[in-house]
Amino acid sequence: MDAHAYEIRAFRDGDENSLLRAFNRVFGASDAAFRPRTLEEWNWEFRANPAGRRVFLALFEGEVVAQYAALPARVWIDGRESTFAQIIDSLVDPAHRSGLKRPGLFVRTAWPFFDAYGGPEKDLVHYGWPVASAWRIGKTFLDYEIVRTQTLLGREPGPGPAELPGGVEVLERFDHQARWLYDRCAGEWGASAIRDEDFLNWRFVNNPHHDYTILAVKDDEGIVRGHAVYRFGDWVMPGMGIVCDWLVPPDEPEIGALLTEGVLAQARSDGARSVAALFPEWSPWFQRFQDAGWLVRPSEYFMVARNFDRRFDMLWLRDHWWYQLADTDLV
């Protein structure tokens, strides 16, 4: 196959149906439990994201046969706003995987993607949690590097109340206070995705894949002092509670302790057999959760990235970038 037989370009309105057919064909063939993606789900992921869209496609005879895509997020980094983007949903139709000499269509679709979106004044970092085959190709051709091998904190809910403790309440959705809370936390972090009303409601409240529970602690004046976004479901273990997002000022351990009790109570209420959370190891929460009985366990995941500004290399990201499971599409 000649590379010129493929049209490789950014997504255009009207591509979505062909893209969805390719997505469902490729992932449906490799996963018996796969549930075809709907247009509504695709629209949420790529059209409704308040930070925009990153999609490059390869088309053969007018049909999508490969995609390299990412979910951008506004980040606060080194005192200014910029963007990172999480690589997801990359695909190559099996019928087109061996048609080209190395590098194949995956790489040839990714190269212009990086040219279009990566740079010191564009996305500073592209990141993801690749499967082994994508990692091998990515490190060889796409400058993927490992930020860290990822640990998770986990514990059993254990005995205790199944009702939320006093002071912890469930929010229906986020409001403008989310940004206030984020600003109180972000000063300690070198880089982090901006958690504001738009991002959090898009990520959790409007998410068509899963239902989330937003646990919050408010003070006497109704100001949100901390939140934990929780989900019950199957992830690394079946029937587990998952702390998808955690936003509590590092110097307010008492708020964190209350929210942790809320998470455990919710997990008991759901009948969860275990609960998991993720923190950078340098975070005070990494220690505090251990002090509260959570054990640090290895995972199959490793955070991979490519930086487009030399200052923000993998070691810098390891030591300065705050991220949560919310910053991934894993939960």
Binding site: A132, T149, T151, E281, W282, Q287, L295, R297, M314, R318
Partner: protein, 359 residues
């Protein structure tokens, strides 16, 4: 065997290295008997410049580390016509049990370039030009070649290594730390600890049992362990064994030092080595209690251990009161057999602090 991505040998490496016409011709070659004085002179000069408190390595230490290692030595040098050592790429060899068969790994250590020779150098510099033949000569399939080369590099060596020498990250290395007052070793069930001066031959049987669940583990026989902990010049380790009716059940090595702190940091008690039969909780409890006891007697306030996070000990130590903390270190490797990629090593290789040169 030729490794991947190697450029052809340089006929005149000195000309390729520099734009300065006053550079004398240099030779890049393997260590030869008699080089040690020149190696040490450069080593001590280089490390004294980056660490004013550096006390200097003695010839006795150097000979122990390289020539007396039962697993062998790995050294490539760039030398000047007067015999002085300009640069070194070196490693500590390890005999390894790799999926039940003998093999070798090596840990890259002590790499250096005399700063006086860095000026005017073209990229990639001596570090890489000594690293190429080092990898070419020592890396390869088991049993005789080093199937894996690994290390815990400083950031500058990591940046060069990943660009030119195929270094890849195996693991973000975390450590386990326990204030002594928080330790709950658990019940020893009658297991008794015996403190010994050196390792007995029967340690090999314990190693073989302990290695069974693992794809790769450095050989812990009496010869290797006595070299590592008993014969080390200036070494001050304490060794404990737990015996059972059918042989050794476990061993631990205690040391004291600054594993991961800044210069001047308070020394801590270090779990330098740890080997217990899988599932022998009684032996583990007895050895943990012994470690705490010697650390306390040594005036230390906490114990620090290092394991792969995939090891059962990783969880068991947390359950005994240890907490996981970040370190400055990250474990990197380079494989010479496709099967043993970094993810395989992440999942299947057991090591402790004693495998490294950090204690």
């Amino acid at each position: 065997m030729h490794s991947r991505h190697f450029p052809p040998p340089l006929a005149h490496p000195h000309r390729a290295l520099t734009t300065r016409p006053d550079f004398p011709p240099l030779t890049i070659r393997e260590y030869r008997a008699g080089d040690e004085a020149a190696i040490l002179e450069t080593f001590n000069e280089v490390f004294r410049q980056v660490d004013p408190g550096f006390e200097g390595r003695t010839m006795e230490e150097w000979r122990w580390r390289y020539l007396e290692n039962p697993s062998g030595w790995r050294i490539w040098l760039a030398t000047a016509p007067d015999g002085s050592v300009v640069s070194q790429y070196a490693g500590v060899a390890q005999r390894v049990l790799l999926e039940g068969s003998p093999a070798h790994f090596s840990q890259a250590v002590d790499s250096m370039t005399d700063p006086a020779w860095r000026r005017g150098l073209k990229k990639p510099g001596f570090f890489v030009l000594t690293g190429y033949p080092y990898a070419e000569n020592y890396g390869g399939p088991p049993p005789d070649k080093d199937t894996i080369m690994w290390g815990l590099p400083i950031p500058s060596a990591w940046r060069i290594g990943k660009t030119y020498l195929d270094y890849e990250l195996i693991r973000t290395q975390l450590k386990l730390v326990c204030p002594l007052e928080n330790l709950d070793a658990g019940g020893a069930g009658g297991a008794e600890v015996e403190e010994v001066e050196c390792f007995p031959e029967e340690i090999l049987d314990l190693f073989q049992r302990a290695a069974e669940p693992w794809g790769a583990m450095a050989v812990r026989d009496a010869e290797q362990l006595n070299w590592r902990f008993v014969q080390r010049p200036g070494g001050n380790y304490k060794i404990a064994l737990v015996r059972g009716a059918d042989g050794l059940r476990g061993m631990a090595v205690y040391g004291s030092g600054v594993f991961d702190g800044d210069a001047g940091a308070e020394p801590e008690g270090l779990v330098c080595d740890w080997l217990v039969r899988p599932g022998d909780d009684g032996a583990s409890a007895a050895l943990l209690a012994w470690l705490a006891e010697v650390a306390r007697a040594d005036g230390r306030e906490c114990l620090t251990a290092l394991f792969p996070d995939t090891a059962p000990d990783w969880i068991a130590f947390q359950e005994a009161g240890f907490r996981v903390h970040p370190t400055r270190y990250f474990l990197v490797g380079r494989n010479y057999v496709n099967r043993y990629r970094m993810r395989w090593l992440y999942q299947n290789w057991y090591y402790t602090l004693g495998d490294t040169d950090l204690c």
